[in-house]
């Protein structure tokens, strides 16, 4: 186990293994994306209350989940790189940030499009919307801090501290804005024993969640590869790979 972690932590090993890995995960992503979209847009019946416009749930919910998930990934790898100084977690955190910011942005945009027919307005000062917007600013702050340093190792560790403070702050932000005002509909899937969503609607949604997750991993691996080349630019194996 420890040997495996050690091996995985080496940038060259990660680089080598990520090429076939990203291909296979991309295939899973494509299949579940097509299946999820077909199931969601064609097979699933229209909602009795929201009509066809509920179908944006298949983009909105996975994007909103991923926006938080990626932040937690950054925080976890930040903690790991602060404690054990593993280079690959620096790279994962750095490569994840723009993807997470994009997911957050996507969740906000699809939410606004959904809000227009449902609430009659693109934007309301609702608790979840506001905390999602603050999350976007946290991502932008992290990216800005990363690009302010020329030394990437210091950038990664400074960013780790920032993002850990953010993780402590996220529940506080969430409850503060929830208290401040709320209009968003309650969660649909978190009640695991008996979801308040029909199975024909739920399965495409879960497929889309899988598609988003695998999409994240694929893009993360591709971005991490280019980050690795930047980190390790003066080691011999990179020279060999680039010339080849």
């Amino acid at each position: 186990m420890y040997k495996w972690i050690h091996q995985f932590g080496s940038p060259k090993y990660f680089y080598d293994i990520s090429i076939p890995l990203s291909k296979w995960i991309a295939i899973v992503c494509a299949i579940s994306f097509i299946g999820g979209l077909y199931g969601g847009l064609v097979l699933a019946p229209a909602d009795y209350q929201q009509g066809d416009s509920f179908r944006i749930i298949y983009l909105h919910v996975p994007a909103a989940w991923m926006s938080l998930f990626v932040y937690l990934v950054i925080a976890f790898s930040g903690a790991v790189s602060l404690i054990w100084h593993i280079k690959i977690t620096d790279i994962i955190a750095r490569a994840s940030a723009p993807i997470g910011a994009s997911f957050t942005f996507l969740a906000l945009v699809t939410g606004a499009i959904w809000g227009k027919p449902m609430w009659g307005t693109y934007w309301v000062w609702d608790a979840r919307l506001t905390s999602e917007l603050i999350l976007l600013f946290l991502y932008l702050g992290y990216i800005a801090l990363q690009s302010a340093f020329s030394d990437k190792r210091i950038a990664a560790r400074a960013g780790a501290i920032l993002v850990l403070i953010g993780v402590i702050n996220i529940p506080i932000i969430h409850y503060s804005v929830e208290w401040w005002s709320t209009l968003h509909q309650g969660p649909t899937i978190s009640k695991l024993d008996k979801p308040s969503i029909h199975l024909t609607m739920l399965i495409p949604l879960l497929l889309m969640v899988l598609a988003f997750k695998t999409f994240y991993i694929t893009t993360l691996l591709i971005r991490a590869r280019s980050e690795i080349l930047g980190y390790e630019y003066n080691s011999s194996w990179v020279k060999k790979y680039v010339i080849k």
Binding site: F137, L138, I161, L164, I173, V177, W179
Partner: protein, 224 residues
Amino acid sequence: MLEYINIFYVIFKRDLTLTFREKTDFINSLAFFIIIVLLFPLTFGSKSELLNTIIPGIIWISALLATCLSLETIFRSDFEDGSIEQLVLNRYPLILLVSAKILAHWITFGIPIIVISLTLGVILSLSNEIMMALFITLILGTPILSLLGSVMAVLTMGLHGSMLLSILILPLSMPVLIFSTIAIQNASLGLPIIAETYFLAGILILAITLAPIAAASALRIRLS
């Protein structure tokens, strides 16, 4: 133990002395604060009921912006003349030394902000309930801003531009802003503000416990 109290006092006194010798930064951030607050009655008119609704929030926003400006200076001169390295290298716990610097920042920035806010409140004829809520939220909130901001100040010290510091501080300090404005709104309606007060006090305790640790480790990272 006595030694630790002594070194805390030495650093604290040094920072106070430096601030009062080098008055421009200190006065500028307070002047900035007053100017921002006074811009709003000039643009929105001086009706007393309107001012009662907007001025407390504006005082809070201006305090936040002024914090961003003043925090840039907390580690800057130490970083430029290299004395920050002496702080990191000596044998005393860095957390203690950083806490002394943060306390000095709050004394020289937070307390003047509170005094000026209350004076401005009297001048702009805020009601007594609002003044009380403003006082409570400021006395609990400004130390949170100093603590949280000092970590960000360490992370960004020596990097060009204070814009980055503001981008880092502002999203993280939103809960403080939200709880304070809810408390002030409740106070203006005659409702109790005890829940918001407890929340702010809880965040303050969390910040006192964790922010010096984060600032000290950030300082080590920046100087590594």
